[in-house]
Amino acid sequence: MSAISALPNGTATEEASHALQLLRQMTRIRRFEERCGELYKQEKIRGFLHLYIGEEAIAVGVMQALTPDDAIVATYREHGHALVRGVSARAIMAEMYGKQEGCSGGRGGSMHLFDAETRFYGGNAIVAGGLPLALGLALADKLQRRARVTACFFGDGAVAEGEFHETLNLASLWRLPVLFCCENNLYAMGTALARAQAETNLALKASSYRIPAWDLDGMDVEAVEHAAREAAAAVRAGEGPYFLELRTYRFRAHSMFDPELYRERSEVEEWKKRCPIANYVLSLKQRGLLDDAALATIESDVAREVDDAVAFAESGTWEPLETLTRFVYSDTQPSP
């Protein structure tokens, strides 16, 4: 196992510091998105808005296993992934507003966050559409003999698409360095997994393509980190793709237009008891790694960051109409 992907196994202080970092990252996502929900009601954010609340442990856990050279392909529920990857809260919030200071210049909005600097390849809003892209990013790495990992996030809904099966087969056949991260939140929009899949064990489907596949508690950030580090190290070492099925639950509606007719309130409440943040706070306190003062510091830091992001977005500017048709083709064209 390389140094990059080794589990943090230093002193007790380092362990505490790492644990607090995980908590801080999950808290950043939660508070950022809670604010997004409010801003949506205020009509500051428009279009579709898909909140990740409840699923934070996955993005935070998996990102620990990645280096700056690695690539990320995510879905339309990707604010958390972008935040943890290192895209600034300011740039993300400005993108939500559609301001030109946003990470995609305002052209994409909530569902299309992109960032070249952190190799964040979206923000892909066609279910399963990102999987073939991840395949290609990984193919380029293999052809150019770079030991990089492409982490590809998608939901349980993607499993029903042909692109899922085509991609898993090719990734395995060509032994490409992809870490598939299936965020199984049990619903494809309003369709329960059991109503869409004859076989609901998703890791088993990946196994059928000869991809090592593990199913995990996606509400446990440390379990996710541990598995992701092990899997990413194997992928980086040239063993081919790995597949993580991360069992989770979305606490909020699918998007802001969803009356949630398809699931019982009691089911949501049951899952909320497994909140990845509240339970991690409890666990860290029990382990003596967190006290109220440290928790308060995290909360106040995060609140300040979110406030700052909103202020940045508010003071952002609208792209002038004159450039409407920009970015259809590259600005620089070869001379014919």
Binding site: F114, F327, P334
Partner: protein, 344 residues
């Protein structure tokens, strides 16, 4: 990548160059792919049966032996995945040539082409361009019936973010690929199935050609015939027949279907005052409809007659030869349309 050979302008009717080698459209494509792979190690070819089989239309025969399986990659029948893999590898610094056997099967990859390749540059605010080349066969004429005979170039030409090429000559078969590979954005090259076996002269110094303009393939003063891809030959035949009865037809080869070179079309129509558009695609919502609209918008008062179109019949392409041929633009129907607009 740096252009292999300085591009030359083929927009005018060129005098014969020498020395030249007689070759086929298929061989010109193969040599073009070979030269691109020799010139730039980022270039690789990927698609169904491009390797061991040698390509469905034998375009890539011998390339696996020359370049090896990493650069000539056989894929499973997974159009969406391997076109998407082309997009992803282009994003990460490669210069993929993805061969989708035929336009008919490309429908299985429409999501990747339209939702990803064509949109990523825009959605990312200019951060991620996709230097991808997709080649596919198109068109009818081989009696392979409805599911293998579509001409859907217009669907792709509808989409901002894509560039769409239709090489109709040996020189374009050879020269469009290096230009497409040098382009920072996704380019689709349509190769008409009836052209692969055609032969012609390819100058020994042939190189990259412009991919942003139409070409005047024959000059004439009485009527403008506009065609592309597989219908260019029949249109030139029609022009020859018209000449025998004293009608001078100017023939424009669109070459690039997106972006359309309106200037060349309008310049010709302003001279001849009459136009016939030839398009193997179905008439409704076709490229011919777009060209006709542009003539109306840009040269309405120069016209002496309504623009006419000779298109594919609005029927799935039938299997029996006589019905298939009746469904496709023929020299006779082009001649008839030209006579009608010329009032002769």
């Amino acid at each position: 990548m740096t252009s292999l050979i300085e591009p030359r302008d083929t927009s005018a009717v060129a005098a014969p160059r020498s020395p030249a080698t007689r070759t086929s459209y298929r061989e010109a494509l193969r040599q073009s792919i070979r030269h691109a792979m020799l010139a730039d190690e980022r270039v690789f070819l990927m698609g169904e049966d491009v390797g061991r089989y040698g390509g469905c239309y034998a375009v890539s025969k011998g390339l696996l032996e020359e370049f090896g399986p990493d650069r000539v990659r056989d894929t499973p029948l997974s159009e969406s995945a391997f076109v998407g893999a082309g997009i992803g590898s282009a994003l990460a610094g490669m210069r993929p040539i993805v061969e989708v056997m035929t336009v008919n099967f490309s429908l299985l990859a429409l999501d990747q082409i339209v939702n990803s390749a064509a949109t990523l540059l825009h959605m990312s605010g200019g951060q991620f361009n996709v230097p991808l080349v997709i080649r596919m066969a198109t068109g009818a004429g081989r009696q392979v019936a409805a599911q293998h005979s579509h001409s859907l170039e217009a669907w792709y030409a509808h989409v901002p973010g894509l560039k769409v090429l239709a090489p109709a000559t040996i020189e374009d078969a050879y020269g469009m690929l290096p230009s497409a590979l040098a382009d920072p954005d996704p380019v689709i090259i349509f190769e008409h199935v009836m052209l692969y076996a055609t032969e012609g002269e390819l100058p020994n110094d042939a190189g990259a050609v412009p991919i942003d303009r139409a070409a005047v393939r024959r000059t004439g003063g009485d009527v403008t015939l506009i065609a592309y891809g597989g219908t260019l030959g029949r249109t030139l035949d029609a022009a020859e027949q018209l000449a025998t009865s004293g009608i001078g037809a100017e023939v424009i080869d669109l070459r690039t279907l997106r972006p359309l070179d309106s200037a060349t079309i309008l310049e010709s129509v302003r001279k001849t005052h009459r136009a016939v558009i030839v398009d193997e695609g179905w008439r409704s919502g076709s490229l011919s409809a777009e060209v006709s609209a542009r003539i109306m918008e840009g040269a309405f008062y120069d016209l002496d007659a309504a623009v006419q179109r000779v298109c594919g019949a609005e029927v799935p392409v039938p299997y029996p030869r006589h019905l298939e041929q009746a469904a496709l633009p023929q020299a006779a129907s082009i001649v008839a349309a030209a006579r009608a607009v010329a009032g002769a």
